[in-house]
Amino acid sequence: MAVTAAGAGANDVGPVRGVRAGHFVLLKLRVLRNGFRGQTSRIVLFVLGMLFGLWFAFGGFGLFALSAAHDSEFSVLVPAFGGAALVLGWLFMPLVFFGVDETLEPARFALLPLPRRTLVGGLLAAALVGVPAVATVVATAGLVLGAAVHGGATAAAIEAVGVLTGVVLCVSVSRAMTSAFASMLRSRRVRDLAAVALAVLAASLGPLQLGAVAAARRADLDQIVRIARVVGWTPLAAPYTAGFDVADGLPLAAAAKLALSALTVAALLFWWSRTLESAMVGSVSGGPARAGQAAGWRGGAVEQLFPRPLGFLRRNRSGALVAREVRYWWRDARRRANLITYSVIGVFLPLVINLSSGGALLQGQSGVPRTPTTVTGSMLFVGTLAAVTLANQFGFDGTAYAAHIVAGVPGRLELRSRIVAYSVYIAPLMTVIAVAVAVVLGEPGWLPVMLGGLYAAYGTGLAVILFVSVLGAYALPDSSNPFAVNTGAGVAKGLLSLAGLVGSLVFAAPFAVVSAVAGDAWRWFALPVGLAYGLTAAVLGCYLAGDVLDRRAPELLAAVTPRR
C-alpha cells in the first residue's frame, strides 16, 4: 500500500518529499487553532485545561524536586513510586475518565501513502504536543533537580534523558492501550475477552496497593525501600530512577534501566502500530452483520424491536424508547465500552478500598476497623459512578437525536426512558456488586445498608447527571475508537464527570450521615429508605431536567453534531 520516498520516480508519479514527524505536529497545531475559531466555550475549556496542567506541572515539580533532593530514603522512594504512579495514571485515566484526544484521527491517514513507521512516529510526536504531556515533563523535571543535588551534573543529565524517555513511555502506553482495547471492543468475537483483560488489569492494581498499604502500616522503612528498588526495575519507574542510580554510583544499572525503558517504548509502539492498522481498515463497524441470519420474521416489525426479555413492555412510545436504548447499550461499541469499564471498576474499586483498609486510610487514621459506614461510603461512590456514565448520553447518539425532535418526543419521557433502559443493565449489576462485596468481607448482615446506599447514590447521581447530560453535551468524533474524544473535549469530559460526581455525592451525603449516626435499627430501614430516596431524586431530576430539555432540544442537537 505504501509508496516510500525511495520508490519515487519508478512509477512516474513525480518527485515525492519525505513526510516527517514535524508535519504531524504542525498539522495538529493547525487543527487545534482552527477548532478555536469563534468557539468561545472551547477556548474556555482549553484554558481551564491549561490551568489544570500548570497546577499539576508546578505542583508536581515542587513535590518531586523537594522530596527527591531530601537526603534520605525519599530519594529512592519518590522516583520509584512517583514515576510508577504517573505511568499507571497515563494507563488508566484515558480508559476511565478522559478518553484520548483524537485531533488527528488515524483513519484519516488511511488513503495517504505513508509507511507505518512514519505514521506511528508522527502520531506519537503529535500526541506529545499537548497539555498533559508537557505538564508531565515539567512535573518530572523536579526529579532532574533532585538528581543534580545528589549526584551532580552527570546524574542530572542521565535523569533528564530518563524524564524524556518517561514521557514518551507514558504517551505510548496510553495510546497503545486505548487503541488495543478499542479494536478488541469493536470486534464482536473478542469483546468479551477485552472485558476480561480490563478486569485483570484493574485487578493487578489490588495486590500492588495491598502491598503498599501493608508496608506503610508496618512502617518498616527498609521493606518499603526494598519494594521501591524492585519497582524501580520495572518499566513503570525505570526511566525515572536511572539518574538516581548514577548518583549512587551505579552507572551500569542506570544504562540498563534506560535500555529497558527504550525497549518497552519500542514494544508499545509496535503494538500500537498493529492495532492502528486494524482501526484504519475496518473503520465503521465490526464487519458485515448477521445478514444471512434468518431473514424470516419473528412476529411483526414491532415485535422485532423489543428484546425478548423485555417483552412485557407496552407497545407504545415509551416502550419503544426503552427497547431501543436497551439494544443500543449493547450494540453501540462506545456505550458497550462504557458499560464494561464501569462494571469492572464497580466490582474492583470497593474490594480494593475495603480489603486493603484503604477505607481506613481515607479517613485519615489507620487501624480503624471496617464499619458499615466506611463500606457504605465506598458504595456511594460506586453508585454515583454508575450515573456518571450517562454524563454525555446524548453525545453517544450524535445527530440521530434529530429523529426525536422531528417526532416531538417530550423531554421528560425521553429522559425517563433513557434511565429506565440504563438501569436494566445497571441495577442488577449494582446488586451483584453489593452482594459480592458483602460476601468477600464476610459481613452479609451489612447488605441492606450497602444496597440502600448504592441505590440512594445512584438515584441522586442520576438526578444531577441528567442536567449535566442536557446542558453539557458535546459531540463525539465519528471514530471507531470508543475512547476517542475531540480536541479539548478530554478536559470537558473530565470536568463534567468530576462535577457530576461531586454534585451527586453532595446529594447522597445525607444518607451516609444518617448511616453513621443511626443505631442498629437502621439496618432494617436502610434498604427501603435508600430506595425511596434514590427513586424520589431520580423522578425529580427527570421532571426538572425534562423541562430544560424541552426548551433547548435544538441547541442540544447542535451541541452533539460533530464539526458543524
Binding site: R290, A291, A301, Q304, R324, R327, V406
Partner: protein
C-alpha cells in the same frame, strides 16, 4: 397566495447566522398545499439550514415557520404531527436493522402497533429493503440509507414531506422508484418540498421552484414562471452567477 386552506409550509423572515457568516438572510416562502416544490441552490447556499429551521431542528435567529397553519416553534406538537422529514447529513438510529428502525419510528409517532407492522412490511417491500434482513442500518450502503430514511419519513402518512437532498447517492433505478412514489403522494393530496442541485430531476418533478443563493431567494414561482422558455440550468447559472471555464486553466492535466 389567496387560498382558503393555509399553505403547506410558510416561512417568514427566517434568519440564521453562524459565527460571522450569515447563512440564511431573511427568507419568505410559501409552499402551496398539493404542490411539488423544488428548492434549488449551489453548495453552501443555505438549503439545509433553511429546511432545518422550517422543521424545528435548528432555532432561527429571527423569523417564524408554519406547517399547515401550525407554528413550528410555538405549537410544535401539532406541526410535527403533519410533518415527515428526511434530513441530510444526519445519522439514523443506525444500530437498529431496517425493520426495527421502522417499528421504532412508528411507535415514536404514537401509531397503532398493528398499523406499524403492516406499513413497515409494505415499505420495506416497495423500497426493496426486505432482502437486507437483519443487517444493521449502519452497514447499509449510502443509497439504502437514503431509502430507509425516506421510508421513516413516509411511515406515518404525513401531509407535508420535507426532504433534504433525497436523490443524492441513489442509483437510477431507486431514483425512478422514489420519483414515482413521490408523484403518487402528491397526486393523493400530499405536499413535497425537497432540496437539490440536480436540474433534470427538479424540471421533471416540480410544479414550483425557488432558487436560493447566498442565503436569499433569488427566483421563485411556478416552474414555467421561473424558466420563461429557457432551460432551468441556464436560469440557475445566470441567477447564481457561476464561473465558466475559459480553457486556460489546468493545462497540466
Amino acid at each position: 397566495m389567496i387560498n382558503a386552506s393555509p399553505p403547506a409550509l410558510s416561512l417568514r423572515g427566517l434568519v440564521k447566522r453562524f459565527d460571522t457568516k450569515l447563512a440564511v438572510a431573511g427568507i419568505d416562502l410559501d409552499v402551496p398545499a398539493g404542490s411539488f416544490f423544488g428548492l434549488l441552490g449551489p453548495n453552501g447556499a443555505g438549503k439545509t439550514t433553511t429546511l432545518s429551521m422550517a422543521v424545528g431542528l435548528l432555532r432561527p435567529d429571527a423569523g417564524r415557520a408554519w406547517v399547515l397553519g401550525h407554528d413550528v416553534w410555538a405549537d410544535p406538537v401539532e406541526a410535527k404531527r403533519r410533518l415527515g422529514v428526511l434530513p441530510d447529513g444526519v445519522r439514523l438510529f443506525d444500530r437498529l436493522n431496517g425493520t426495527e428502525l421502522l417499528a421504532y419510528q412508528g411507535l415514536l409517532r404514537g401509531m397503532d402497533p398493528a398499523v406499524v407492522d403492516r406499513r413497515a412490511h409494505e415499505l420495506l417491500d416497495v423500497f426493496a429493503l426486505a432482502d437486507a434482513g437483519r443487517t444493521l442500518v449502519v452497514d447499509y450502503s449510502a443509497g439504502m440509507k437514503k431509502k430507509i430514511g425516506l421510508a421513516c419519513a413516509l411511515l406515518h402518512a404525513p401531509r407535508l414531506l420535507v426532504l433534504d437532498e433525497p436523490f443524492e447517492a441513489l442509483d437510477p433505478v431507486s431514483a425512478a422508484l422514489i420519483r414515482d412514489i413521490l408523484h403518487r403522494y402528491v397526486a393523493g393530496g400530499g405536499t413535497v418540498i425537497f432540496s437539490s442541485h440536480v436540474m433534470e430531476v427538479v424540471e421533471r418533478l416540480c410544479s414550483h421552484v425557488a432558487i436560493l443563493a447566498d442565503g436569499q431567494i433569488t427566483a421563485i414561482g411556478t416552474l414555467d414562471d421561473v424558466r420563461r422558455g429557457r432551460s432551468l440550468e441556464d436560469v440557475f447559472v445566470e441567477v447564481v452567477g457561476g464561473r465558466v471555464a475559459t480553457g486556460q486553466e489546468l493545462s497540466w492535466l
